[in-house]
């Protein structure tokens, strides 16, 4: 177990190192400059600014400084907001993004499990069909389309919920729904398939023969076993939520990481792009590792030492 963990952590660091290196050198290849109106600046001014941001040193030195800084959690200074360290920028915005992501994940998984189980119990009835149709629609409608529609019809036309901004729980409802519908659809399909499998197994037959109630069977016996494979979906969901957050945060003007990332791309703010890229990659790598560990704990049949998926 320990050997396995050490190996995994080593690969994790290797991955992050590769991402950091690639990002850095691609960033150097990038056309355009971070300074607006560079044509209007004198050579002297350019030199001062370059010195201020450490851009006059040779590339390998910049690279080493960058790596060393990153180990200490220092991603440099944002070009867009002068004198704002990127780490501060991220720290001030991560709260909203994390809250939105966690809420969307909980919303999607919770309702997904309920819908999936109900569909499996009522297999081949109209309930099942409705659930299937809904989950296909939920999977197919892009979250940004849904977000705009929700914003317009529920917030603007009906006026039930605030249109945008980030000032407390009511403001989080619409973005959470828009972001969580994808995971919801995926979860419900997944749970349904797993549940149908489990409901056909012998021990469920036994539970039924003992005279347990339908709810008791599903809740105590079927649900637990059909939820185990769901853990493998956490990784893909995290990616989907990270990607989704960019556009959802934009639509609902939520001060989060995703919105900042899009802004940084359009303004050539390299340090912020690099910082957020590293943040996303680290997050994903950690989630994948955690998923594998959790999977090994809740389902002892999967041996961690055997490597993943073998």
């Amino acid at each position: 177990m320990r050997k396995y963990l050490l190996k995994r952590i080593f690969y994790m660091i290797l991955t992050l190192f590769l991402v950091a290196t690639l990002t850095f050198f691609l960033m150097k290849l990038m056309p355009g400059t971070p300074f607006t109106n560079q044509q209007k600046m004198t050579a002297e001014q350019i030199q001062i600014v370059n010195e201020q941001y450490g851009l006059n040193k040779p590339i390998w030195q910049q690279y080493l400084l960058y790596l060393a800084g990153m180990v200490h959690g220092d991603f440099g200074t944002s070009f867009q907001f002068s004198n704002q360290p990127v780490s501060y920028l991220i720290a001030s915005r991560i709260g909203a993004s994390a809250q939105l992501g966690v809420q969307a994940m909980i919303f999607g998984v919770f309702f997904g499990i309920i819908i999936g189980s109900v569909a499996a119990i009522n297999r081949n009835t109209w309930i099942d069909t409705t659930a299937t149709v809904l989950s296909i629609i939920g999977k197919s409608v892009p979250n940004f389309v849904l977000a705009v529609l929700l914003q317009y019809y529920i917030a603007l036309k009906l006026g039930w919920l605030p249109v945008a901004d980030w000032n407390g729980f009511v403001y989080t409802i619409l973005p959470t729904i828009a972001l969580g519908v994808g995971p919801l659809a995926e979860t419900s399909r997944f749970v349904r398939t797993g549940m149908v499998d489990v409901l056909n197994s012998d021990y469920i037959e036994l539970a039924r023969a003992k005279g347990l109630s339908k709810f008791g069977i599903v809740y105590h016996h079927a649900l637990r076993n059909s939820l185990i494979p769901l853990v493998t979906l956490i990784g893909p969901y995290t990616v989907a939520l990270m990607t989704g957050s960019m556009v959802i945060e934009n639509i609902f003007s939520i001060p989060g990481i995703g919105e900042q990332f899009v802004k940084s791309i359009t303004t050539n703010d390299y340090p912020t792009i690099m910082g957020v890229t590293m943040l996303f990659s680290t997050g994903l790598v950690l989630v994948i590792l955690l998923t594998d560990i959790i999977y090994g704990i809740i389902d002892p049949r999967i041996r961690l030492t055997g490597g993943s998926g073998e």
Binding site: S140, F144, L149, Y152, T193, V247, N250, I273, S281, V285
Partner: protein, 341 residues
């Protein structure tokens, strides 16, 4: 009173000799794997309808290349700006050139002095360009992305998976580590990195797909190849001295075909969503080219008053995604009947 049972030998008929009787005869013609899958697919209404819709979309989108030139896409006609749908002969509010302005239906065509013989089936955008043309062009972009994703899935994913599974040992370990590294970088980060080097547009989207879209396929193909490798027929082929290349083509690929087809059908909607998403946030396809994502972004800006500008591209995109998803589900059930419940 006993009545004797009289049996006349003539009432008996000799059975045909066993040799003549074809006990093994199978009434139905034997079906190949693909024919069998096709038969099952045909029973799935949703999948057949989706297939039909997709074929129509492909034909219309790619056929439009001859009718919609680049100039048509960029030519603006401010006098026709923001006209709603007008289909001659139909007099339903919303489809007859009327639009709700301050709570009342107003004929925008009349108000803006548009000649009576000019009409736009899906209306126009803020520069007076036909929305129908732009949507068809956008659909074409989406389908090109779909084709590109399929291409990389097949070319890189399948090859990578087969080589990794077939070689085994250290090569396999190394190749799997590479996949792990690639798939632990979020897709979006790859695109952003591509954008930094290339210009935003089709090239960077396709490059990003080439780097990241095939990893799931490669994993599945590898797992299956590992088990196929030890099958008797593959062992036989190896013993006979068949080259690995030929074994891969003759034995592995045909047996992997169902996985390949099913997995491709899952990659495609993902790729289409990805392009629309990037274009929507403004780092994908950019003007003068257009795509469904760009149209949605434009439509979103004026959604409050000109709802049709958002609804039409949204519907087309959703129909495209639903069709691919339904067809994918149908194909999975058709190729792998065990999963069907």
């Amino acid at each position: 009173m006993e009545e004797k049972l009289k049996l006349d030998p003539a009432s008996f008929e000799p059975l045909p000799k066993a040799d003549d009787l074809d006990n093994e005869k199978i009434a139905a013609p034997s079906l190949t794997f693909l024919q069998d899958a096709w038969l099952r697919l045909k029973k799935n209404k949703g999948a057949v309808i989706s297939l039909f819709i997709l074929i129509v979309m492909f034909v219309v989108a790619f056929g439009s290349t001859f009718f919609i030139s680049h100039d048509d896409l960029i030519r603006s006609a401010p006098q026709y700006a923001n006209l709603p749908t007008k289909i001659p002969g139909i007099d339903i509010n919303g489809l007859n050139g009327k639009l709700k302005v301050a709570g009342e239906w107003v004929d925008i065509y009349e108000r803006n002095g548009v000649p009576s013989d000019v009409h736009f089936i899906l209306g126009t955008d803020y520069l007076g360009r036909s929305l129908a043309q732009r949507i068809i062009y956008g659909t074409k972009i989406s389908l090109i992305v779909a084709v590109a994703a399929t291409f990389f899935d097949l070319l890189i994913g399948v090859t990578y998976g087969i080589v990794s599974g077939w070689k085994g040992g250290k090569v396999d370990t190394f190749m799997q580590r590479v996949i792990e590294v690639i798939s632990s970088v979020p897709n979006l980060v790859i695109v952003v990195l591509m954008l930094l080097v290339l210009k935003p547009g089709m090239t960077s989207i396709i490059c990003a797909l080439a780097i990241s879209s095939w990893t799931t396929m490669a994993r599945m193909i590898r797992a299956e190849t590992l088990s196929l490798k030890n099958q008797e027929y593959v062992l036989a082929a190896r013993t006979l001295g068949e080259s690995p290349h030929k074994i891969a083509w003759k034995h592995l690929v045909p047996n992997l075909s169902s996985i390949i087809i099913i997995q491709t059908m899952y990659t495609i909607p993902g790729a289409i969503f990805f392009e629309a998403f990037l274009s929507f946030i403004g780092i994908g396809i950019s003007a003068p080219q257009t795509s469904l994502g760009v149209l949605l972004n434009d439509g979103q800006k004026s959604f409050q008053f000109l709802t049709y500008q958002m609804w039409y591209p949204a519907i087309v995109l959703c129909v495209l995604m639903i069709s691919f998803n339904l067809l994918g589900d149908g194909l999975r059930d058709a190729f792998d009947p065990k999963t069907r419940r």
